[in-house]
Symmetry: C2
């Protein structure tokens, strides 16, 4: 379906329930909130299914939109959900009943009756903007929700998925009249005190090798306990090491429990194959980002990782 | 002058020398590089005056564009330079001879024969894009230089100066064909190893007060020495403390020499008046960002700052 056809579909149905994916991010929540408000403005009944994993960073956008107990939908829409495996537990009853999926993932599984997919979009929010444009006016609240969707999925226009179209949608959304700075501050300029402490500890213990091309950081259970960090304080912590100037290979070792460590490896394209390194240690992933869960103390796993990197380097002729 | 008139001026003159401001940033350097290339493409002779303070983050954009010894210009253009006080020493010979100033600062002093000013622009690069459009095609190299100008001046579309027009110019510049991701990575996703160590130390020593609304960080000479940090490693370090979730008042104390500390205070609009606090300590600035240089040890200056904050709070009825 094109965005226009999706809008026509939405105009001719009613009693909507909107689904979001597991480990919900700004794109799925922002799209759900924006679409729900657009449908209501078009005179429809519409709710978002509660997502038990939504954190306080995103739940405010769903205020007043969550489906009440016993709500019986006629039409089910999934947003930013590529695969059946991404349905939260409480959404699994709709696995065989999604009327329309709106998505931007090339890995979309086409589980829905109708699918509106544009894999050239940095965010599902970009596509959703096209769709809700056909439904009517865009209020500031809708604009804000969709701006959150678009901006968070491209790291505020930094990631390589950002296109000219991403910027143009952002411009149009800003013109709906919400105040973008508090949104930007909230999502891109704020860290918890505990997160900063953890990052400080990682920096203090950072190990540079290979003339600065390889960096290792170590996140121990003791550090987590010392800071009183929660899971959200260490979210995406494996991207921390990659910001060091000159580093091509970023290794993050996290102690999951005594004697078990999680390895995350991020590498530059064309340099070290992260997937090959992690395969040696029983894990896997992509060439530029891979991981493995390895038994052993931090020191033992560190040794094993360095050996695996060395082995892959020798095999690929880069000793 | 409108952008179109500025372009006409540029089309009818020749032998250009372009000036950039002291402590050059991405906006002044990117504008100079973009304009210089545009003038050359239009068949003009054009050079940028070397800026002795330009750091390695920006000098690559000026490669091949710097004026040779003894170059005698006919037309002098200043970019992103609001005031006479911002001329670098080697540019002061042109203080009374600027033919055209292109700028976006409301504080523009109108020191030039002609001025093309648009204070609604987030970056001078936005305005420069309008001007060079009238001069002819925009090459990828020009596009990249102007993208650096635009994106760095709005913190990659995060700061409150970002407007829909900023995003639209970014979109148009991306379409000139350069690869934006390495540029974004270089300017917005990279920190030196030493910077990360310094930030780690600041986080470790951070003091939270007033239920987390006030945060203090302490940068000592000892920390600088321990890390081997250079000045560029601590550039804009006073913005570090402001990213802590919930903090309204961010205090950065930096030991300049034994017995002398520099205070930087950032506050939220409507809360504490930073300028009033710093005035008590012999400094000044704006309501939301001010500073002072204070004699005393770090501990003494910390006490003095806390007292000054308390005093301003009591005076404004917020004890």
């Amino acid at each position: 379906m094109t965005p226009k056809e999706a809008a026509e579909f939405l105009n001719t149905h009613d009693r909507y329930l909107i689904l979001t994916h597991v480990r919900p991010d700004g794109d799925t929540i922002g799209c759900a909130a924006g679409l729900c408000r657009a449908l209501r403005l078009a005179g429809k009944q519409a709710y978002v299914l509660e997502n038990p994993e939504a954190t306080s960073l995103f739940t405010p956008y769903l205020e007043g939109l969550l489906a009440p107990q016993g709500y019986e939908p006629e039409t089910v829409v999934a947003v930013d959900m590529a695969a059946r495996g991404l349905f939260p537990d409480n959404a699994k009853q709709y696995l065989e009943w999604v009327d329309l999926a709106i998505d931007h993932h090339p890995s979309q599984e086409f589980y829905a009756k109708h699918t509106c997919l544009d894999a050239t979009r940095a965010a599902c929010g970009e596509l959703m903007y096209e769709i809700v444009q056909h439904l009517g006016a865009i209020t500031p609240e809708m604009g804000e929700a969709l701006y959150v969707a678009v901006s968070t999925d491209c790291g505020c226009f930094v990631y390589s998925n950002t296109t000219p179209a991403t910027h143009r949608v952002a411009a149009a959304l800003m013109e709906t009249g919400f105040d973008p700075y508090p949104v930007n501050r909230r999502h891109f300029r704020t860290k918890s005190f505990r997160r900063l402490k953890i990052e400080g500890m990682l920096a203090a213990g950072m190990e540079l090798r290979d003339g600065g091309e390889t960096a290792l950081v170590f996140l121990t259970l003791d550090m987590i306990a010392q800071v009183g960090a929660e899971e959200r304080d260490v979210e995406d912590i494996s991207s921390f090491v990659g910001q060091v100037a000159g580093v091509k290979n970023g290794v993050t070792l996290r102690e999951l429990s005594p004697g078990v460590c999680k390895l995350s490896l991020r590498t530059e394209p064309g340099d070290l194959n992260a997937s090959a390194v992690c395969a040696i240690l029983g894990g896997g992933g992509h060439a530029a980002a891979a991981g493995a869960t390895v038994e052993g103390t931090m020191a033992q796993v560190r040794e094993a990782v360095l050996e695996a990197i060395e082995k892959v380097r020798q095999e690929t002729g880069r000793a």
